[in-house]
Structures are given as C-alpha cells and as structure tokens.
C-alpha cells in the first residue's frame, strides 16, 4: 500500500499473478483437419491450400501450390469430373464451391502469364523410362523430374496427351491448352520420343540403361461385341472414331450414326459426330440413371440434339439399317429382352463398349500378374517385376484423367523411394473436417457462379469449347466461397472471443497460440471457430 498514490488500493492489471489455467479440465489445441475436397481428389491435390492463396488474389502462389500435386491444371479444370465438388461442405450450405472452374482459371492464367515450374533441385543420376505420354505418364515424368531424376518418355503415337488428345473431343479440351501444359513439363528437361513403340520392356530398359520403368500405355483397344450383321454393315469402334477426329481424314460414318453404349465415350462420339453434321442415335441397354456416363454430359448431349434410345440392344446390323430389341429391367435391375423389335436407319454403327489394354510389351516379363486384361500392381504401384511400375488405365481402377494423374504422382513417389532402397510411406491422413466441425454462421451467403456456356448453334456445328471460363473477378468470388474446412484462415475469432485474453496472435501467416497460463478451457474458441481448426482434448490428470 505504501508506494501507491492517495486512494489507490489496487495496482492495475495485477490479476496476472492468478494463473486461472489451473482450473482447466480440457484444453483447446489448434489442428489442421483434412478438408473433404482434398480427401476426395484422385490426384491428391491440396485444394483448400491453393484456394487459400487464390482468395487473397495471389494466383501465382495458388498455382504453385496446385502444381505441387498436379502439373495439368488447365486440362484438369476442363475434363475432371470434380469429385471434390461432390464432397464440398459448402454443398450443405448453399451449393458447392466451383473448385473446377477456379482450377481452370489458374491453369489458363499460368499459360497466359507464362509461369514456369521450379527447376529440379538436384540431379540424382538415375534414369527412368516412362512408356506412354498420356496423363499418367506425363504426371509421373513431371514428379520424377522434380525429384532430380532423368526421365525419358517413349510414346507410340505421333503426339503427346494419350486419351486427353485421342479420346477427349476438342469441344471439351482445346488442343492448344493441352500442348501448352505438355510443353511446360518437357521444359523441365524431360525427353519425349514420338513414334517409339516399346515392343519389349526389359529390352528397352537394358538398351537405354534405365534404372526403373513406369508403364502407362492406357487402354486403346475398343472392345468388340458379337452382332449378327450383313456384309455391307459398317461397324467401327469408338476409339478409332475419336482418334481419327484428330487427323486430317475425318471418319466416313454417313448421316445416321448409331452409337452403341452408355458410357462417357459413347456420349463423346455422339456429340462429336453431331458437330460433323450427322444425326447420332445412342443405343444403350439400360436406363439413364444406370448409365455410366456422367449425367451432365448426357444432359448436354440431349440439349445439342443427340437422340438416345434407352433400354435397347442391337440384334442385327445390315446395310442402311439395324434392328434393336427393347429391354425391360427385372426386379434386380438387370435388362431382360422383351421380344419387341424396331428397325432404325443406320449408315454406320460405332461400338463404345469399353476398352482393353495392349499388353504386348510385357510378353516374357517375369513375375507379372494379369487379371481381366489389366496389370496388377501392389499398393506402391509396382508390378510383380521389381523396378517396373504401372498406372493409369492399364491397371485396375476408375479410368479418368484425374485418377491417371494421381497414379503418376504416386508411382513417382514410390519409384523415388525404391531407387534409394526405401519404401515410400505416405503421411498419415489427419481426421476429416466434416460439416459438423464447422460453424457455418460466419460465412457470408453467396451462391455459386455459373460458368458461361457456348451458343447452341455453335455447339451443334463446331468443335469450339462448350464451357467457358471464369474471369478474374468471378474466379476470385468463387475462391472466396471456400469455407477453408479444417484449416485456419486467420479470421481472428479465437483471438476475439476468448473471455480470458488467453489467445496470442502471432501475426499474419503465423496463426495463433494459446496461453495455457490463463486459458480456463471454456471452449468458446472451439464452438466459434468457423472452420473447425481447434479441438478440445482432456487434460492429463
């Protein structure tokens, strides 16, 4: 008392000597949970991570985070079926974040601005052969080159891209976009040899002095089905049709084109021939909701005037006409013949019944297991033969560009470890940031931005890209719809809502820290954290 001025009994702020942290039975801790988008991405992208940078308008940094996992963002922003958006927590609030459209914006921006990949850090001196310049091979080449390995791709065809070029029509993926992203990978010092079909993998490896190989030849052989047909019937497979679209000599299919099948390839063929002036009819034995093609593609095809006959099989093909039989679903959902027939005009029949893998390069290789026409690989993407890895459409999996890109990355990580005599261990996945972990109150209401779509007449008559991109301001808006699930985005809520001033703010980019001397463990910060980046854990007793 003696040192204080008149009438002053208590010194200001002296309650600091009372450490209220001792009251606590549970403590808050910061953590990063796994956002559902990242969890759903077959290419293993850190989507929330790159959106974070896009939110502040730093598109180059966003792109750099994106390409740590996927070197083909402009392609991916067009052809990916975006399972991320299906998993997006914002879908439970209004509608999911347009991740795919922001990815495309970043990819296009990178091409426009001429951003390049970082140069490889060190040279390992190891040589790796990649067979096939499709999405899987290109992805593996990129990741291996980044790790400092010397990579050579041997491609049987005259151009790079694989199914991205010879399977996906131009109206979904303009070729200059594909070329730009392939060129950027080659700029890292990756060698690409065209018209080089690997006949015998072991021999090619020995010849080139390769330490390991990654096989990614895809699945290019169209499956056939037995259809009783007259001599004059014109039957051709879908892969050949799509491939010939790339060349000068467009396929001669006539006016009435029957496409047999219900997958994405069938729809791609139908939409492509529509653009060449033909009248395609898709014949599929089951119903629309059972068709493997994505519903939005079926919808776009129908909009463009493609006819689809559901519940129908082709019984007989002759010159100028086919006979289809109507089907009915039984109680198990399988199509059964009804005995009702119908004749359709048909100048040609395109079979889109799936594709097989050309496995001839593997003949005589020991230790391989081949089941149902695909090469079996273990969880590290290696075949039964040491040093030979495989991925993409030639191994059992869903056949999409995104899955293939993911295979390429995974194989690269495993090859890198194998070359050092190690086994690649993926970091354990953190717990999932599901919707229940969020406090959605804090997010502004904002509906999804709709991408522009090409005029119908131009869709029916040209191969111009159907779906447009977002411009700068709409892409920024879309990025900012991200809820940042499970990952702190520095909203300062924990810092603001603590009744005990027990949160220390470390400054921009550095996050926060709890002051456990005073934190009483009330848990308000956990409840009020918008993105679920804090959790309570019991104190040890």
């Amino acid at each position: 008392m003696q040192n204080r001025p008149f009438a002053i009994t208590l010194k200001p702020g002296t309650s600091l000597s009372n450490l209220t942290g001792t009251w606590r039975t549970a403590r808050p801790v910061y953590l990063s949970r796994l956002p559902p988008c990242n969890n759903a991405c077959p290419a293993g992208e850190n989507i929330q991570g790159w959106l974070f940078h896009a939110e502040s308008g730093d598109y180059e940094q966003a792109w750099r985070v994106l390409v740590q996992d996927n070197p083909l963002p402009a392609v991916m922003g067009r052809v990916c079926y975006h399972p991320c958006e299906g998993a997006c927590n914002r879908g439970q609030l209004d509608s999911s974040v347009g991740i795919n459209s922001v990815e495309r914006f970043l990819g296009d921006e990178a091409i426009k601005q001429g951003w390049k990949f970082d140069a490889p850090a060190t040279a390992s001196g190891k040589r790796i052969l990649i067979v096939g310049a499709g999405p899987s091979g290109l992805s593996a080449a990129y990741h291996l080159a980044r790790m400092g390995h010397q990579v050579e791709i041997q491609e049987a065809g005259p151009l790079a891209g694989g199914m991205m070029r010879f399977g996906i029509p131009k109206y979904r993926l303009p070729r200059e976009v594909l070329d730009a992203e392939v060129a950027r990978i080659l700029d890292m010092g990756v060698t690409l040899k065209f018209n080089t079909k690997v006949e015998n993998i072991e021999q090619s490896m020995k010849l080139g002095g390769f330490n390991a190989a990654f096989l990614a030849v895809g699945a290019h052989i169209g499956k056939r089905a037995f259809i009783p047909s007259g001599d004059a019937a014109h039957i051709i497979d879908a892969v050949s049709v799509l491939r010939s679209m790339e060349g000068e000599d467009k396929p001669m299919l006539g006016r009435r084109v029957i496409v047999y099948g219900g997958g994405n390839t069938a729809i791609d063929v139908a939409r492509s021939v529509k653009r060449m002036g033909a009248d395609p009819v898709v014949v599929y034995r089951r119903t629309r909701d059972k068709a493997p093609a994505h519903d939005f593609e079926i919808e776009e095809a129908l909009q463009e005037g493609v006819m689809i006959k559901w519940l129908s099989t082709i019984k007989q093909a002759d010159a100028g006409e086919i006979i289809v039989e109507k089907m009915a679903l039984d109680e198990k959902g399988f199509p059964q013949p009804t005995g009702e027939f119908e004749t359709l005009e048909a100048d040609s029949v395109v079979l889109a019944l799936g594709q097989d893998v050309d496995l001839s390069l593997l003949e005589g290789v020991s230790g391989l297991a081949i089941v149902d026409g695909t090469v079996q690989v273990s969880s590290n993407m290696m075949t039964g033969h040491p040093g030979i890895f495989a991925g993409g459409d030639m191994v059992p999996s869903e056949r999409t560009v995104t899955v293939a890109v993911g295979h390429g990355k995974k194989a690269a990580l495993n090859i890198h470890a194998w070359l050092q005599g190690k086994t690649y261990q993926a970091a354990p996945k953190p717990e999932l940031a599901d919707f229940s972990k969020l406090n959605p109150w804090y997010y502004s209401d904002a509906d999804k931005t709709v991408r522009p779509t090409l005029d119908m007449i131009r869709r029916q008559t040209s191969f111009d890209e159907v779906q447009g991109g977002l411009d700068e301001s709409t892409a920024l808006f879309e990025a900012r719809r991200c809820l940042s699930c499970g990952n702190c985005f520095e909203c300062d809520n924990c810092y603001g809502v603590c009744p005990d001033n027990a949160v220390i703010k470390l400054g921009p980019g550095k996050g926060f820290q709890f002051n456990y001397d005073y934190c009483k463990g009330c848990g308000i910060c956990v409840t009020e954290c918008p993105c679920g980046s804090i959790k309570m854990v019991p104190e040890e007793t």
Binding site: T9, L10, K11, P12, G13, T14, S15, L16, S17, N18, L19, T20, W23, E55, S56, G57, Y59, W441, Y442, Y443, S444, A446, E472, S473, L476, F477, R480, R481, C482, S484, F489, E490, C491, D492, N493, Y495, G496, V497, C498, P499, D500, N501, A502, K505, G507, P508, N515, D517, Y518, K520, G521, C522, G523, I524, V526, T527, E528, P530
Partner: protein, 333 residues
C-alpha cells in the same frame, strides 16, 4: 497485380477479423493493440459472457476517447471477479463504491472533470442487470433525467449470479432461479413482471440508447463508438449469457447470445432521443425453444413434463418483439 474490387470477403464482417479486409475495416478486437481493459487472471467462470462483453465495450470506449476513460462499477459479478483484494484485472482507472450508486458515482466524476476543465476525460459507468434495473435504478433514472455526461453500460445476464442466481427484474419469464423455483401452476419466474430498461431509458428522451449482444461484435463496437461520440446521458444494454446461472455449456455463451437475437427474444436496436433509429435484422430466424433448450433454467418446459403452452407464450413475446422493431428483412421496407 491489380484486380477488380469484389464485394465479397468469405466471412465478411461476421468474424472478429478477416485477412481479406483492409486493417481499418477489421474489428478493434482483432488487433494486437487492443487495450485489454480487463486483463487475464480475473476470476470469472469459464465461458463468462460478462467478462467478454466488458472487454469488448471498455476497449471500444478506450479507443474512442484516446484512452482517457474513468470507469465506475456497481457491485456485482464483474466487480467481484475482477478485483479480489489485492489484485485488479482492470487496466483503466476504475472505482467501485456500492451496489446501487454506480450512476451517481459516475455523475460525480463527470462533474469533477468538468470543474477541473478535463474535457478530454470521459466517464463510463457499468453494472449488471441487478445493479442497474433493480438496486441502482433510482440513481440511473436521475442520471438520465439530469442528462449527465456519462455512458452507462448494463451487462444483462438476467439475474443475480454471483450471490447464487436469484431473480432480478431482467430475469425472463418461466426461467428457474434460486428464488423462482420450477414448482406450482406457473413454474419459474412469473409472466408479466420485470422491466424493460432500454425502453424506460428511451422514455427519458436521452441522446442515445442501444442494445447489443456479445455475438455481434461489430455492432457492439459501433454502438460504443457512437455513444462515445456524443455527450449527455447514454445507455447501452449488452446481452451476456451466464453459463452458471443459465445452466448452459461454457462453450455455448456466444451461440446462445446469437440465438437470443435470431429468435427475437432479445431485440437489438438503437435509439436517439427516444426514437428507434436502427435495428439489427434477424439473419436466420429460429424459434424460441431452439434457444431455450440448451439452458437448464428452462429444462422444466421440456422433456417428460413438457409445457408447450408456456413455450408458446414466450414465442409470442418474441414474435411481438419482431413485429414491434421490424426485425425481419421483409418487414423493413
């Protein structure tokens, strides 16, 4: 790189801060330089709404007056938990006298400052709802009537919490307290009693009256700043949930304040010279039972002996608030 301004910032102004907003557009509480008028180490319960509300309000008052604030405090939780002898949590000049005379003490300080010519020094009085709506009501009304240059802040948690949760004239109907037990034909606090002090303050035609909650920080800071820009008698009532007295989880303090506002139970508005000049609209309307259910003081209205008639009566009070203040978006045009 230059880019178009976009009027959408992820969380907008709902969160305390927002890295996408310019520094001067963020809340005062998001800044490392906030004055922390009430320091760590205070003995408020876990999740205390009043401790939080007091820091929000006094920090804002400090920032609005170049840190020249003197605070007078009524007896109550805030006084007890912040100043157990020989410690004080306060980092502002602060005085406590009696339960019922905070308004009078503040009036005296304001008069003294005027006599000394210290026009830059601003006076704030603060108390809980017991010290404001019951025990200190005479002094408060006198302060309003004389239009003394004091901002009076009432932290409303609906009862005398630190003495064992007794009823006050701000306790909501049907709520259980130590003195309004959930027994008899009308269990809990009786309907039709109590006082609406913000409206009584408006009836004094003082320059500024406002209500706020700890769930709407931006609104609260704006109202304190606005009050500090004016002179004469001003009154702000801040809704501060009390985990102890309400029987709610300590982590639900802000959530309950938000639900009180979103259900219309606690209308958030501001008024100048007796006329309402602005209301904080309901964003996602909820019913009162959603707000009441997490609180054990209303537990007797739910469960086995559920009492839907009583809940309906409370709902009709909320509906009346919504109508009277125009709390829904469509009613404002």
């Amino acid at each position: 790189m230059g880019f178009q301004p976009v009027k959408f910032y992820q969380t907008g102004t709902f969160t305390v801060g927002n890295r996408l907003l310019a520094a001067d557009e963020r809340s005062l509480q998001s800044g490392e330089t906030r004055s922390n008028s009430i320091n760590s180490g205070h003995r408020a319960c876990q999740g205390c709404g009043e401790a939080l509300g007091a820091r929000y309000a006094i920090d804002a008052a400090m920032a609005a007056s170049n840190n020249q604030v003197i605070a007078a405090n009524a007896t109550g939780c805030l006084e007890v938990f912040s100043t157990p002898y020989p410690e004080s949590s306060w980092q502002v000049p602060w005085i406590h006298s009696l339960f019922g005379n905070a308004a009078a003490v503040a009036t005296g300080i304001a008069a003294a400052m005027k006599v000394k010519g210290r026009t830059e020094v601003r006076v704030v009085a603060q108390g809980g709802d017991g010290g404001t709506t019951d025990i200190g009501f005479g002094c408060l009304s006198g302060m309003f009537e004389r239009n003394d240059d004091v901002l009076y802040i009432c932290y409303d948690n609906g009862g005398y919490m630190n003495t064992g949760v007794q009823r006050s004239s701000a306790t909501p109907p049907a709520a259980r307290t130590a003195t309004t037990m959930p027994v008899g034909p009308e269990p809990g606090n009786p309907f039709g009693q109590g006082k609406n002090v913000p409206e009584i303050a408006m009836a004094h035609n003082i320059p500024y009256v406002a209500t706020a909650t700890v769930a709407d920080l931006r609104d609260l800071e704006y109202k304190v700043r606005k009050a500090m820009s004016m002179h004469g008698a001003r009154y702000i009532q801040i809704f501060v949930p009390c985990p102890l007295g309400w029987g709610s989880a300590s982590h639900d303090t802000i959530r309950l304040a938000r639900m009180a506002k979103e259900s219309g139970t606690f209308p958030v508005f501001e008024a100048e010279y007796g006329e309402v000049t602005g209301v904080l609209k309901i964003r996602h309307k909820i019913s009162v039972d959603e707000y009441m259910k997490p609180q054990r003081r209303f537990a007797h209205l739910f469960g086995k002996n559920a009492n839907p008639e009583t809940i309906a009566r409370i709902q009709s009070i909320a509906d009346r608030n919504i109508r009277k203040y125009g709390l829904l978006e469509e009613e404002c045009n």
